[in-house]
């Protein structure tokens, strides 16, 4: 077993002096000397569908007491199924088919169902991704927590009520004693997740399994919940099995990491090791696919294709079809789990010394060619013609109340927004859910009639146009939607989908011309021409998003409104779409309004940034200005809440509370109640827009 890797190895792979671990008695995959250290020890876990398709295929890992172990992987890789297997909560049709799991010295798969019930919520508790769906809507949160207390702590009656309030207070819910009797719908998303955590803590578990605990939450709320998990762990000494797809969350939370791909753990290491030097080509490419400011002006290293469905690859390495380092062996032989002598484990032929075809392995991908720099740099100062000019746009929705449904107020979803987008540039609109950014996008397209204000597209006013006149202007502005599964009609072929807009706007005379146009479009977005005879369900999420982009491009727009176009996609696929959008911009001189909550994507793609809070833009400027020298406290908080993979120490700005309801915004500066710098003036008057630099404006009394 004592093998050295080839000295020819390039430095993308581990240093050639790395030696494989000797201790064969070690359980594969974790660098521990004694097994007694382990709170949870999983060996050879296999979970499969009734028809034998393996969803989780031979997984081994261990978690020490007080430790956070992260299972990292893209959607469909089997990480949630791993967690559900451990608690034996698999959905119907999925079964445990092998392997063992010792929790606190108890073999979970040897327990009777009755014994298992003591484990669930007792030794091991679990929280889930969707707090809104994971709580029973017709029971009060107190009743739901009390159930766990009765089962595992034998607390009932007043003592249980007392403990419920304590638990809610412990997870940071203000006014806990009163809120015990409230129902889940009376809590915000972040608060619901806190309730879930309180419920999990009720049984004083030794292990908490958190399945994507913050994926459904906004970034400022995510920061709060992650902090709560860390604090709880410090206070109780419990272990945490954290399941996530987010490298940033892993960097902030994990002690050790297992990277999953297509049902297997393909790499396992401590957080520092992993982030310092990922070994598996998949992990490496995952890192390379992350957008950030440093990669501006160059394409991201996207991983081609998508995760194979379970059971589709019978032989060879499951990543081989997408791997840039793969050679014949990878397709023929499944790589063994290999433990290197610094304790890390990896499942890749590169780290098994076969002494053959070393030169092939060395073949590194040619670094992505930098994009031509189309007027980068000081371009803001060089005048460009404006494609979109919005001034003082307002979209209000009436609130109806009472017996006669009279209008009693207005939700000011968009409240006086002004912005401009120059030709060929990208403006990012950043904000948390509920801030009105999607409403703004739809109002620009006149899908929602604006209440007031003006929208000028290439110098011509859109608001108040009659339907027929509006139609002639529609070609210039199109939208790319968030959910690639909901944005394509499942009953239409790709060709029909692409042709719809052309037919509606009379583009391309005759069907022959349109067919040629469709072929060109498919080429442009990187799909095979044969795709046009197929139906959407035959494509993966990334491919669907390409079709959606092609549909928008079909009418040759000058401006694309992209509403969270990558938030439903995996990181590796997100990189493909971002690359595509970038190259289309270069080619066609497109302008983008990029609506997103993901600041990393903003850093990568945007030229200018607007930050939106409760229907208003609180800060705008070039990407450099807003992201490097943020002036508004909200922008600063957003930036500090974003988990970063460099793990750099930075000042964390804690935001208190949730986003207020836009139906009833706080008086004065809407951000004042959550702002650390707020003064009396902030609570009285909404701040005017002020210039802090030529192109940098902010709405804050203190900036």
């Amino acid at each position: 077993m004592n093998r050295t890797l080839s000295p020819n190895f390039s430095d993308e792979t581990p240093s050639h002096s790395t030696r494989l671990a000797k201790n064969a008695s070690l359980v594969a995959g974790y660098p521990l000397k004694e097994e007694e250290d382990l709170l949870l020890s999983v060996k050879g876990l296999i979970t499969q569908l009734r028809n034998g398709t393996r969803i989780v295929d031979d997984i081994s890992f261990g978690i020490r007491a007080g430790e956070t172990f992260a299972l990292l992987g893209e959607s469909g890789c089997g990480k949630s199924m791993t967690a559900l297997s451990l608690l034996r909560l698999l959905p119907d049709g999925v079964v445990h088919a092998g392997g063992t799991a010792q929790l606190n010295g108890v073999e979970l798969f040897g327990l009777r169902e009755r014994g298992m019930r003591d484990v669930r919520g007792g030794t091991a508790a679990m929280i889930f991704q969707e707090p809104a769906l994971s709580l029973n809507p017709v029971l009060t949160v107190g009743q739901q927590i009390a159930e766990a207390l009765a089962l595992h702590q034998n607390l009932r009656g007043a003592a249980a009520r007392q403990r419920c309030a304590e638990l809610l207070a412990q997870v940071g819910i203000p006014d806990a004693a009163r809120r015990v009797t409230e129902y889940p719908f009376q809590f915000s998303g972040g608060m619901k997740q806190r309730v879930m955590i309180a419920m999990a803590l009720a049984g004083q578990p030794k292990l908490l399994i958190a399945d994507e605990p913050t994926t459904a939450l906004d970034v400022t709320i995510q920061a709060q919940v992650l902090q709560l998990l860390r604090d709880t762990q410090d206070a109780t000494g419990m272990s945490l099995l954290l399941i996530t797809h987010d490298l940033g969350v892993v960097a902030e939370m994990a002690h050790r990491v297992g990277v999953m791909y297509a049902g297997q753990i393909i790499e396992q290491a401590s957080r520092t090791q992993l982030f310092a030097k990922p070994l598996h080509p998949y992990t490496q490419q995952l890192f390379a696919a992350l957008p950030d400011a440093a990669r501006r002006n160059q394409p991201l290293a996207a991983i081609p294709g998508s995760v194979p469905p379970p059971g589709s690859i019978a032989r060879g390495c499951r990543f081989a079809p997408r791997c840039d380092k793969a050679w014949e062996l990878c397709n023929e032989q499944t790589p063994e789990w290999t433990i290197l002598n610094d304790g890390r484990g990896v499942r890749c032929h590169l780290y098994q010394d076969r002494g053959s075809r070393i030169e092939d392995r060395e073949k590194t991908p040619s670094p992505p060619a930098p994009l031509p720099q189309a007027g980068e740099g000081n371009s803001i100062l060089t005048p460009r013609s404006l494609i979109l000019q919005v001034s003082d746009l307002q979209v209000h929705f009436p609130i109806r109340k009472g017996i006669l449904q009279r209008v009693t107020g207005q939700v000011k979803a968009v409240n006086g927004i002004s912005l401009e987008i120059p030709q060929g540039r990208t403006l990012a609109l950043v904000g948390e859910s509920g801030c009105g950014k999607t409403t703004l996008g739809k109002a620009l397209l006149q899908l929602i009639p604006p209440t007031a204000g003006s929208v000028q597209l290439a110098g011509r006013e859109l608001t108040g146009l009659a339907a027929r006149e509006l139609r002639t202007r529609r070609a210039a502005m199109q939208m790319v939607f968030q959910d690639p599964y909901a944005s394509l009609n499942p009953k239409m072929r790709v060709a029909e989908i692409l042709e719809e807009g052309m037919a509606a706007l009379n583009i391309g005379s005759g069907s022959a011309t349109r067919q040629t146009l469709i072929d060109t479009l498919l080429d442009q977005v990187g799909l095979a021409r044969s795709a046009k005879w197929r139906y959407p369900h035959e494509f993966s999420g990334g491919q669907r998003q390409r079709i959606a982009i092609a549909r928008a491009l079909a009418v040759s727009p000058q401006l694309l409104i992209c509403d969270e176009p990558t938030s439903a996609l995996d990181v590796s696929v997100q990189a493909q779409i971002l690359n595509l959008l970038r190259s289309l911009q270069q080619e066609l001189n497109l302008s983008y309004l990029f609506i997103t909550h993901n600041l990393a994507v903003v850093e990568y793609i945007a030229h200018e940034v607007c930050v939106m809070y409760l229907g208003r833009i609180v800060e705008r400027g070039t990407a450099e200005e807003v992201l490097r020298t943020p002036k508004h406290p909200y922008t600063q908080a957003l930036l500090s809440a974003m988990p970063r993979i460099d793990g750099s120490a930075r000042e964390r700005i804690k935001l208190a509370g949730d986003l207020p309801s836009p139906a009833n915004p706080p008086p004065g500066c809407h951000f004042a109640p959550r702002c650390a710098h707020a003064s009396a003036r902030c609570r009285e008057a909404y701040p005017e827009e002020r210039n802090v630099a030529a192109t940098h404006t902010v709405r804050c009394h203190h900036a």
Binding site: I55, M479, G501, A504, L505
Partner: protein, 455 residues
């Protein structure tokens, strides 16, 4: 020509439905994604056996829908005169069943009437005994041969049926295998049905297999004739329900605002009246209209037929609200989907969005609801006819059969066969329809066929 074809109103509607069905099938065959759920239906053994049974019922119903009037032997100045009696191809095929009427009740496979009568023998002595039937078992010289004759006929008939079934099965086997249909259950069902049909047919040639009713009509014949009535109620009604529910449902959901308010108001008003009462009221009014306008109908068959059509119309008018509500809800969901908004942002017209985006995506709801409603309507016919607001009393249907037989419940010993026949035929028809509907729902409902597991 020895006959002239007659197309009653209900016949025309059936042909229309048939044409729509054939067109839909042709369209679906050419679109792979539409065919996909049907393939799932075809994989289900229960569904395919049910479909086999249903198609037999359908065949009987269709044969009974091809109407004609036979030419009478006498001529009127060179012009052919046609009988006023409207017959169907089915009537012609089972002519002996139709014409061999006895005097009154007789039990299944009996050779005598059910009640004793005063008879006079050759010597002129009057005695009370069960008189022999005119047709049932008339070929038997002696009643004691009855059991062996029945057995012989049943076996021979079953054997003949089996042979025919086997031939059919061998012919269809390759066709079935190519389409990967559930082979064994279908074969077994075919053979069983063939044997049963063979035995029944051979027995029916000489006996009243299911007995006779009060006026001596063969109950098997009545049951066969009832099938068409049931099928028409179950299918023609959808010709009314479907356009109303589809049009109003998606209009309400898509346009919202006052259109929605108005449509919701109409269906809430309609659905707030208990349906039996509304149907009863409407049918009563229809009766008044029909009775006060006798001049509208040239034959009694056309009168009964028009009443059937009106009944379907009334059933349709009172039962579209449920489907309409479903479609409105689904459209409300669909209109918020991003592909609709994408179409709107191209300025695609509302009509085009409705036809290209909304309608294709609610078709599964319509289909599921139609197949589920079919059996409910067949059952409703029986109840309505019992209540007295169903089909014309002169029209043969399961409801009128039950209604007539029910009056004999108190008789000792009980006359049970007409009830049993109606019960058996209805159960088979409705059960097959229900099983088929279940398979269709399983295959089409997106909420039910989620087999992929999100990890």
């Amino acid at each position: 020509m020895s006959f002239t074809p007659v197309i009653l109103w209900s016949d025309a509607l059936v042909f229309l439905l048939l044409a729509v069905g054939v067109a839909a099938a042709w369209y679906i065959r050419r679109h792979e994604h539409l065919l996909l759920p049907w393939r799932r239906v075809a994989q289900s053994a229960a569904a395919m056996v049910s479909l086999l049974v249903l198609s037999l019922f359908l065949l009987v119903g269709l044969l009974d829908t091809l109407h004609y009037r036979a030419a009478l032997p006498e001529k009127n100045g060179g012009e052919t005169v046609y009988s006023p009696e409207v017959l169907s191809v089915l009537d012609k095929l089972v002519e002996p069943l139709r014409t061999h009427t006895e005097k009154t009740y007789s039990a299944p496979l009996a050779v005598t009437l059910y009640a004793k009568e005063s008879l006079s023998d050759a010597q002129g002595n009057v005695l009370r005994d069960y008189p022999r039937l005119r047709y049932g078992g008339a070929h038997l010289a002696d009643e004691s041969q009855l059991a062996s004759d029945i057995l012989k006929r049943a076996l021979l008939g079953a054997l003949g049926g089996l042979l025919a079934g086997l031939l059919l099965a061998l012919g269809g086997k390759r066709w079935l295998a190519q389409r990967r249909l559930p082979l064994r259950p279908l074969l077994i069902a075919t053979l069983a049905i063939a044997a049963l049909a063979g035995a029944t047919a051979y027995l029916a040639a000489a006996y009243h297999v299911l007995g006779t009713d009060k006026v001596g009509q063969d109950v098997l014949y009545l049951s066969l004739k009832s099938i068409r009535t049931g099928l028409i109620i179950g299918t023609v009604t959808t010709l009314v329900t479907l356009p109303l529910a589809l049009l109003l449902g998606i209009a309400a959901g898509y346009f919202r605002g006052w259109v929605d308010d108005a449509i919701q108001y109409v269906y809430t008003v309609l659905s707030s009246i208990p349906s039996v009462l509304l149907i009863a009221a409407a049918v009563l009014m229809m009766q008044v209209t029909i009775e006060t306008h006798p001049q509208w109908f040239d034959t009694s068959a056309s009168r009964a037929d028009l009443r059937l059509v009106f009944l379907c119309l009334i059933l349709g008018m009172t039962s579209w609200t449920g489907l309409c509500r479903l479609l409105r809800g689904e459209t409300l969901k669909l209109r918020e989907l991003e592909y609709i908004q994408a179409a709107q942002s191209f300025g695609v017209s509302s009509l085009r969005i409705l036809t290209r985006h909304i309608v294709p995506n609610v078709m599964h709801i319509i289909l599921i609801s139609l197949v589920m409603d079919f059996s409910a309507l067949v059952l409703a016919e029986a109840v309505l006819s019992y209540v007295g607001v169903g089909v014309d009393p002169s029209m043969i249907s399961f409801g009128t059969m039950i209604n007539a037989a029910r009056l004999e419940m108190g008789r000792e010993p009980m006359v049970w066969w007409a009830l049993a026949a109606a019960f058996g035929f209805m159960l088979v028809l409705v059960l097959a329809a229900n099983l088929f509907a279940d398979a269709v729902r399983d295959a089409f409902d997106p909420r039910l066929n989620r087999t992929e597991v999100a990890a």
